[in-house]
Every structure is written in structure tokens, then in C-alpha cells.
Symmetry: C2
Subunit: 333 residues, 2 copies
């Protein structure tokens, strides 16, 4: 289904350890237009720093966001404290974030995903969506940079990525590779892009992650969300059980390995779909299964918890501790 | 000197009418860190709208920035007023802006232009510079969008543009062309980029314009600055004369055509350099001459004036009215 006409044939010199999805719901306030959940974003950024540059002392972090802060007219003073030592070797991560309360209003109001750039509402909605999602991208890049993470914002539109009938067709990842090789952490996002058949559409963060995972073969992929993982029924319902492990087979089908669900006759697709009121979880698990099929472990867990620390550290690659709360989706040959 | 390995061979379907440089000094407050000159930016954006979409009624403009405004929690209400008529055909413009009081502190403090990404200060400065210039880019895109201009921010770094010893080597403009053909106005900016020889550097807006002009052959190029144009001595000095027309010859040399300067024995290069305390004017005139050599008229004038309206409208292409204040740089065969 996917063709990657312009993809770089050269793999990165540095192997990508992890691709992290920052779910929109985890870092923004879902029901407040264009409002970042500052506390969560700070915690997520701090955890990412620990995973990327292990053994750093948070008190000694020198930030890379030198822009002035609200209410101040001077840049931060720590800028003079950078040493002349070579930069610490950091792990190769890629961050992809969703939109949450950014972009959603603009995109749905105008129907950008349905295409038709010759209509003024769609054209304006395309521009408005990009303004909204790029402003969120800038704030996430700044939050990561404040933690000393060398983050570089990269918009799929500017990277030249486009779709045909909403499937990715052009996605030259050579600049993502170059940024990684230069020691940076690329920060990409769901974006409004051009579509050869319907003129324009929305390229979601999840589709971007699937594409990057297929091309770069990271060791593992982590989805950070606002719930602990995938449940067998809506998590607010009494008795909802967190699905801790899903096995994906060669043909792409998948089944729950842990815990053993009581009603095994009920197809898992249905139980997952049943609480998918936002349309998010089914997409997520389908995308995750496609990544796991490539032999790449996928961990879905709640952002800013001990469980996300473990997922980001990579220790789940061996065995999953019983007290880890989240959903691991892995290939079973 | 320049090689464009990855440039798209296909010219845009729509001919580019004009490339506009928004000088950093014209749209930011030069001596106030990261402060936009809101009034100037609004006036420049309004003038650009008039040039792009002639005969629009400013009272009827429907903005394309639907993000919430400071102090408000709701998106603007005019979003419901978009009609179902096809979009008005607008002229093809490309906007490139400088950094002004954005990016400059970060870049000069860290020496990003000199390269050396393995040094923590340079790596951090690279990240900090990109944060600063992309935040200015976002604000300019928003200001243009509020005027109903379908503006799309595009960062040279994300476009995959890079340099070798500070000369542009890779600059695939296919995505710029696609954006234009889709009816958008690309908004690019001076940026921190990767350099194959010295690891990183700063790619200036002026160099970007020269490259785009050479590739896309626009009808004319306009530099909007904070002074009326190029003078024969510092404009604050008594008797300073505005140079109204410069002729560029085949070999790249150039001379003043209008007005006739009293001391013709004095090389113009020197008189221009003499007041070039910021290092800006000599670069500007050298870059302008290289563009004019391609047969493309270049107009340098003050942003937000009647003179910039005339320059942007394209009427100077025929003859330059005596009351137009600015510097026209044109090819003379």
C-alpha cells in the first residue's frame, strides 16, 4: 500500500534506539483550546532526558532554549556556563507528537482531511491547522531543549512528505537521518500535507511513526498516552482489565497473551473497539500491531509515570516485570 | 561556487511573480531581544495582501489564523463566514525573512556560523537559534494569515537544505514549488543548517533569496528594510544622497545610474561600505547585484511606505517614477 519513492537508501550511522509518540491527550488539556498541560510536558521532558542522557544530574542541566521567558527581557544567564568538553553521547531517539487540543478544531472545522484546496474554507483551514500544530511543536521543542535535549523541530510538510488518497507516498527521511547523525533529536508531528489525489489531507502522528519504524528499524517504540494502556472494556467501567501483552503474528493478526481474559470466545478487536469512543485506541492498536510485525516491540503506557520511565529505558526488551503497568505489543514468530 | 545537487528539474506551473525579503530590522525591534515590531509587521502584511490579492476590501478579509488570541479562550468567530466559492487566484509570491532581534543573540553567543557541533556550546546554540528563528517565522506566518494570505512556514533545515563551507550545496526546492502550485505563499527564513565541512553554520535569508531567484526566475525581487534604500554615505550624515538606480553588467560589476554622483572618481563599493557598520548593506548590494545579473529587477525600499506598495505591485518593472524613493538594481546588457 505504501510506496516510498524518495526515501534515502542509506541507513543512519547511529542506530535509532527508540521512537517515542507523545500523545496529544498526554501533553495538552484536551478540552481547552490550544492549552498545553505544562506539568505533564515538563515531567515527560525530564523522563526523556533521563532515557537519552543517562546519569545526568537534573540540577546541572544546561538548557538549550535561550529564548526569553514570559515577563523577562533578557536571555537566561546560564548560557555562559557551557564547558568546552565534547558533547555527551546521547541515545538516538525520535519524538513524534500528536495534536491534542491544537490543530483539531481547525482541521475538523474545515475538513482538511477530506481534501479540496480550491474551497476557501479548506485552504484557510489548512493554513490555520499548520499554524496551530507548528506552535505546539515549537513549545514541545522548547520544553525538551530546557531539559538539555538537543531537539530539532521538523514539520512533515516542510520535509516534503505527501500522501496519495491519505496513504504516505513521498517521505524522504534523509534529513531525519542527517539530524540524528549530527546528534540531534528530531521532533516531528501530525501535520496538514499535500495529497496527489485529493489535494490535501491530515497526516497523523501514528502513520508517521509506522513509516519511520519501517524505515529505521528502531529497537523499540513507546506510545505515551493519558491512560495506562489498552483495556478489555472502557477503563471507567468496573472490572476493566488492563491488557498487558499482545502477541502479533506473521499475518498481522494479534491476540492477548497476558492476562488470560475470562471470555476467550470474544474477539479482542471487538473488546478494544467497544470503548473506542474517540476513535483513537483501535487506530493505535492497529498501528502498533503493524510495527510489532516488523519485529519491533511497542509499549503503550501512561506518560509521566514510573511505567513510562521503564518503557523509555528499554529494560522491557528482555522481560516485562509483573508490576509494570502498560500494554506491550510484540511479534511472536 | 554553488552546486544544486538535489534541485527539482521541473519548473513550477505558476510562474513566481516576486520574492520578497522582509528584513529583520523592518519587522523586529532591533535592540529589544525577540520583540516583533507589531505595527510594522501588520502594515507590511496588509501591503502584501494588496499585492497578492488585488482589489480586496480590507474590511472583508477572512483571516486564516484561527488560533486563539492572547487573553481569549475561543477561536475567532469569523470562521463560519467562509463561502463555498473557489479561492481567489492570487499572485505567486515567496516571502523570506531575516532574523532581526531573533536568533542573533543565540547564534553569535555560540558561534554557530563557525561550526563545530561536538562542542556543547555550539550544539546548544544551534538548538537555541532554531527555536528563536522558528518562533519569529510562526509569528510572521500568523500575521500574514490574519490578512487572508495562505502562508505556509517552511524552515530551510526541515527542507533538507545544507551547505559546504557555508555555500549552499543541497537545496531541493521541489517542496517550495509544490506549495506554490497548491496556491500557498511559502514563508522561509534564515536558519541554522548542517554543513558538510564544518558541521553547521547559519544560512542567511539573503543567500536563500539568491538561490531561489536563480532557480525560479521571478519577475522581480523586493527587499523591504528599515531605510529607504542604499545611500552614498551614512543616511544620518548631512547631504546623504539616496542611490535610486544601479546598473549591473554581464561581468557582475555595477555602477550608479541615478542620480549622477558628484564625485564619480570614488568607487561606489567604497561609499556603500563606508556606512556599513552592521555589515548588512554591502552584503545586500552584492547579493542584489548577483540577482540582477540574472535579468531580474531588484528593488530595495523601506517597509510599510508608499514606496514599498509600488515596489510590490510590480509597476516599477516598466519605468521608475521620479517620486519613488528606493534603490532599483537592474541588469544592463
Amino acid at each position: 500500500m505504501e510506496q516510498n519513492k524518495a526515501s534515502a537508501p542509506v541507513p543512519p550511522t547511529k542506530r535509532v534506539r527508540c521512537i517515542v509518540k507523545l500523545g496529544g491527550a498526554a501533553i495538552t488539556c484536551k478540552n481547552k483550546l490550544e492549552t498545553i498541560d505544562e506539568e505533564n510536558l515538563k515531567e515527560v521532558s525530564s523522563q526523556l532526558r533521563q532515557a537519552l542522557i543517562p546519569n545526568t544530574d537534573s540540577a546541572k542541566v544546561l538548557g538549550m532554549d535561550w529564548s526569553k521567558r514570559p515577563g523577562q527581557s533578557e536571555p537566561p544567564s546560564f548560557v555562559d556556563e557551557f564547558s568546552d568538553q565534547p558533547v555527551a553521547d546521547s541515545e538516538s531517539f525520535i519524538v513524534v507528537h500528536g495534536a491534542g487540543s491544537f490543530g483539531h478544531f481547525q482541521a475538523s472545522k474545515s475538513g482538511v482531511h477530506k481534501g479540496g484546496l480550491s474551497r476557501p474554507l479548506v485552504q484557510a483551514g489548512f493554513v490555520a491547522t499548520r499554524i496551530s500544530v507548528t506552535s505546539l511543536n515549537l513549545e514541545i521543542v522548547r520544553a525538551l531543549a530546557r531539559e538539555g535535549i538537543p531537539s530539532i523541530g521538523m514539520s512533515p510538510f516542510s520535509c516534503g512528505w505527501s500522501t496519495c488518497q491519505r496513504n504516505m507516498t513521498e517521505a524522504d527521511i534523509s534529513i531525519v537521518i542527517k539530524a540524528i547523525d549530527a546528534g540531534f533529536i528530531p521532533v516531528l508531528h501530525g501535520d496538514a500535507v499535500l495529497d496527489t489525489l485529493q489535494e490535501c489531507t491530515i497526516l497523523s502522528g501514528d502513520v508517521i511513526i509506522r513509516h519511520l519504524a519501517a524505515e529505521l528499524k528502531p529497537e523499540f517504540v513507546v506510545f505515551l498516552t493519558d491512560v495506562l494502556g489498552v483495556y478489555d472494556r472502557p477503563p471507567v467501567e468496573p472490572g476493566a482489565v488492563l491488557i498487558q501483552e499482545i502477541a502479533v503474528r506473521e499475518d498481522g493478526s494479534w491476540s492477548v497473551v497476558k492476562p488470560r481474559l475470562e471470555d476467550t470466545s470474544k474477539p479482542v478487536e471487538f473488546t478494544v473497539a467497544a470503548h473506542d469512543t474517540t476513535g483513537g485506541m483501535v487506530t493505535k492498536i492497529t498501528e502498533a500491531a503493524m510495527i510489532a510485525k516488523l519485529g519491533i516491540d511497542v509499549y503503550i503506557t501512561k506518560a509521566g509515570t514510573d511505567h513510562s520511565v521503564k518503557a523509555l529505558s528499554g529494560i522491557l526488551k528482555g522481560s516485562i516485570p509483573d508490576d509494570w503497568l502498560g500494554t506491550a505489543i510484540r511479534y511472536m514468530s
